[in-house]
Amino acid sequence: MRIATRSATSALIFVALAILSIAQAAGQASSIPTPRLINPEDLVKLLQTSGKEKPLMIQVGSHVLFTQAHIPGSEYIGPASREPGLQQLRKRVESLPRTKFVVLYCGCCPWSHCPNVKPADDALHAMGFTNVKVLYISDNFGTNWVDKGYPVAKGE
């Protein structure tokens, strides 16, 4: 009887941990479908091509990182892994047409660990935005954008 209780407890702990892992993975960038991503080089080309619709670019990471380097023309919102950041994001886009081209980016951490882009992407889709892309930054903004020589701005 005691063994059965122990086995049941172990199984419950295992299930709880599995659910926790799945929940954590669901909040991570890796679960964003590939068609919703844009590569740095493609975004650079798009920004440099005249006549094409320029996206609203929103950084959903840290302000300290943004101040050091960001994509020229992009706006700082705050970490979307936190409710204040998400609220700020919703507030920024609420008056925009749902077809507005929006690019979200962070670059705080390696892609599989970024906690910010997925909640931001989810929030915009929940609001009905249909033309949202997330900038795929595999390592971090320094390595995959700044070090590549792509355009960078500093400051607020």
Binding site: Q28, S62, V64, Q68, C109, H113, N140, T143, V146
Partner: protein
């Protein structure tokens, strides 16, 4: 007379060439001159007191740029707590530089993770001093002499830090010059 000038020139050129070859063949010994001096800073700790990096000269410093919302940072912090506990008495000092936008989430995080080392609030200027902190976590290992001996970008295995810390701790204090 002309042949004497030519011969002297050739001999001198040969000497220079031999010397250059010897220099390039000599084993490269790493010294503090091969490393950058860790830029000094003074930043406020969570309790409001200032922390100055250079006041830790003579200790091995593990300088961790992190943020509360950064998952890889959260993975590393328990290891840093353990390293501080294990090697603090031998001269290790872990210092955290939070890149959070404000200190509000940092205090509760500090308590929750039982952090046993000082944490200061970083700025963009601090990031730029260290070559740009454009990804988290980034960790620097600073020797007793104040020079940077290692830089790790992204979550790094605790065993790697431990190996480097042990090696830096083994450096005799008398070689550490201000």
């Amino acid at each position: 007379m002309k042949w004497l000038f030519v011969a002297t020139t050739v001999a001198l050129a040969a000497l220079v060439a031999v010397h250059s070859l010897r220099r390039s063949a000599a084993p490269h010994v790493a010294t503090s001159k091969d490393h950058l001096l860790a830029p000094d800073f003074t930043l406020p700790q969570l309790d409001g007191q200032d922390l100055r990096l250079s006041s830790y000269r003579g200790k091995v410093v593990l300088l961790d740029f992190w943020a509360t919302w950064c998952d890889p940072c959260r993975e590393e912090i328990p290891h840093f707590v353990e390293l501080q506990q294990r090697y603090g008495y031998r001269g290790l000092q872990v210092i955290g530089i939070s890149m959070d936008d404000g200190s509000d989430p940092v205090g509760p995080f500090y308590q929750q993770f039982h952090m046993n080392y000082p944490v200061v609030m970083g700025t963009a200027k601090t990031g730029e001093l260290y070559g740009g902190i454009l990804g988290l976590p980034i960790t620097f290992l600073i020797g007793r002499d104040g020079f940077i001996y290692a830089k790790h970008l992204g979550a790094t295995d605790a065993a790697v830090f431990e190996k480097e810390i042990k090696s830096l701790l083994a450096e005799p204090l008398e070689t550490a010059k201000p």
